[in-house]
């Protein structure tokens, strides 16, 4: 399966990233590029619980392709979510089920962000995404 273009771009930039500072700057850049959710979508029903920050996730299928949108009041988790969406947006349900998300973050050099003790919420976002996509 070839990577979506956005995912390939993420991989290219994170692959050459050395040190926590550069990684943090990149994450925040990706977070900034994530389109803001409408306030109307920031409802309790769309809230992802289990995060230190407020995170909302919505998702719908358009012509058989998943399109997720998300927002957060914290910048680094917004970046992490942006990287997740870069990998999964545009996929069919079947393709979505096959994506190895831990491996994706591993490739980006961000595997620690998915460790069970991290309360940043990326795991919770992932879980919600799977619920939405059934």
């Amino acid at each position: 399966m070839t990577l979506p273009a956005n995912a390939q771009a993420a991989l290219d930039s994170f692959e050459h990233c050395s040190g926590w500072e550069q990684r943090a700057r990149l994450l925040m850049q990706w977070g900034q590029r994530l389109p803001e959710l409408n306030d109307a979508d920031k409802t309790e029903a769309h809230r992802v619980h289990g995060c230190e920050s407020q995170v909302w996730l919505v998702g719908a299928q358009v012509d058989g392709h998943w399109q997720f949108a998300a927002s957060s009041d914290a910048r680094l988790i917004r970046g992490l979510v942006a990287l997740l969406l870069a990998r999964v947006n545009g996929l069919s349900t079947e393709q979505l089920q096959q994506v190895d998300v831990p491996d994706w973050f591993n490739q980006l050099g961000l595997s620690r962000q998915l460790s069970p003790s991290r309360s940043n919420g990326l795991n919770a976002v992932l879980q919600r995404m799977r619920e939405v996509a059934g």
Binding site: E21, A24, E52, S53, D73, A74, R75, L76, I77, S119
Partner: protein, 401 residues
């Protein structure tokens, strides 16, 4: 100012963490352990584990003796003298739940339980749920601007309807001693039972339960440089006799047949099942270690570090401290910076601090916050730990502000 800790080398994990570039400043959550404890655990497991209070055999006798020696050491540590007993539980949370269930029969609908606004969930939820089960009123004492329980309000709110007062000695978020003598006097004047949550307090000062005069005092071993899975409940004899048995099983029973049973008094009657034997023995070793140190020197060291921490935070722009912390820890937020972002970047730099609500959600909500960063100190921390923290903080804020 250079503040080395003379006890740092007694805690082997600190050097191990340093080799992994980790600076441990999350001591209010749990502490590292002294070598003396590691030696005691190894000795117990290497020389013959056995269950306590049951068998005639020699390993059983040795284990029971070591176990009961710790009970004696805890009695001394709390200066309990002859006024009460020590019950071992599986943690401070367990001890508080034991009280909330064991005292359930003591309350009638409409009675009041008084707690404070700064309680950890462990000293809030057991009473909240008891109040719901028995239709009691849970009265919450407010704090003043410094994070100290407001005594004027307490004078009004502790009334003849008050049957029990349960308060923390030292908040795990605000780092300030609470006015326990005055609060306990107010409760005693109403003949209410008194419970002190010493989970943080026991670590930063030598409690004296006879001077305090509380009915119950609770703490957890792992925050006091001891093993985890072990809590301590001190109870005065008269107060312990109010407790109904809560958990049932092995060794807490006097006589049993299929339909009926009678139970032992405290302490064994409240230690159902096999207790955490190794942890109890380990706590004994920790208390031995601590008892041989100069407590005043430890408190002076921690006070100097705390002053350095507060001063450093106050020098930086946009930092707001929660309350007016006096010792042990500081919780803070930075204007315009999400605490999750700051926590993320401190973690990236190997600084182990805690971010979030610190198991005191109502307290954080009362500050209008979802979370805060907490830096908490122990006897083995030194000024270099704080320097590394401040360097990391400055780097993180440079990125975020």
């Amino acid at each position: 100012m250079l503040l080395p800790s003379p006890w740092r080398a007694d805690f082997p994990a600190i050097a191990a963490l340093q080799r992994q570039d980790q600076t441990y400043l999350d001591n209010a959550a749990t502490t590292q352990k002294p070598q003396a404890l590691l030696d005691a655990l190894t000795h117990y497991y290497a020389n013959g584990a056995a269950n306590v209070h049951r068998a005639q055999h020699l390993p059983g006798a040795h284990a029971t003796q070591a176990f009961e020696n710790t009970r004696h050491k805890v009695t001394q540590w709390l200066n309990a003298g002859e006024c009460g007993q020590i019950v071992f539980t599986h943690g401070a949370t367990s001890a508080l739940n034991l009280l909330a269930y064991g005292l359930e029969h003591h309350f009638n609908p409409g009675d009041e339980i008084v707690i404070s606004a700064l309680e950890h969930h462990a000293n809030l939820l057991p009473w909240q749920q008891l109040a719901q089960r028995k239709k009691l009123n849970l009265v919450v004492l407010p704090l003043d601007a410094d994070g100290v329980i407001d005594l004027d309000a307490a004078t009004r709110l502790i009334t003849p309807r008050t049957r029990l007062l349960a308060v923390s000695q030292l908040s795990n978020v605000l780092g300030v001693w609470q006015p326990l003598p005055a609060l306990l006097a107010l409760a005693k004047a109403q003949s209410a039972l008194t419970v002190v949550d010493g989970a943080q307090g026991v670590v930063h000062g030598r409690p004296d339960v006879q001077v305090l005069g509380c009915d119950f005092y609770v703490f957890s071993s792992h925050k006091l440089y001891g093993p985890d899975g072990l809590g301590v409940l001190f109870g005065r004899h008269e107060a312990l006799s109010c407790l109904q048995h809560w958990q049932f099983g092995g060794e807490m029973v006097q006589d049993a047949d299929y339909q009926h049973a009678t139970f032992r008094p405290a302490p064994l009657g409240f230690e159902a099942g096999t207790p955490p034997i190794a942890s109890v023995i380990g706590l004994g070793a920790t208390l031995n270690y601590l008892a041989n140190l100069d407590q005043n020197a430890i408190q002076a060291h921690e006070a100097a570090l705390h002053a350095l921490l507060v001063e450093g935070l106050k020098q930086r722009q946009g930092i707001r401290l929660l309350g007016s912390p006096q010792l042990a820890l500081v919780s803070f937020v930075v204007e315009g910076v999400h605490n999750a972002d700051l926590a993320h970047l401190l973690t990236e730099q190997g600084i182990a601090v805690r971010a979030g609500h610190h198991c005191a959600m109502p307290l954080l909500k009362s500050f209008g916050l979802a979370g805060a960063i907490r830096v908490s100190l122990a006897m083995y921390n030194d000024s270099e730990d704080l320097e590394r923290f401040f360097d990391a903080l400055d780097q993180a804020l440079e990125l975020l502000q």
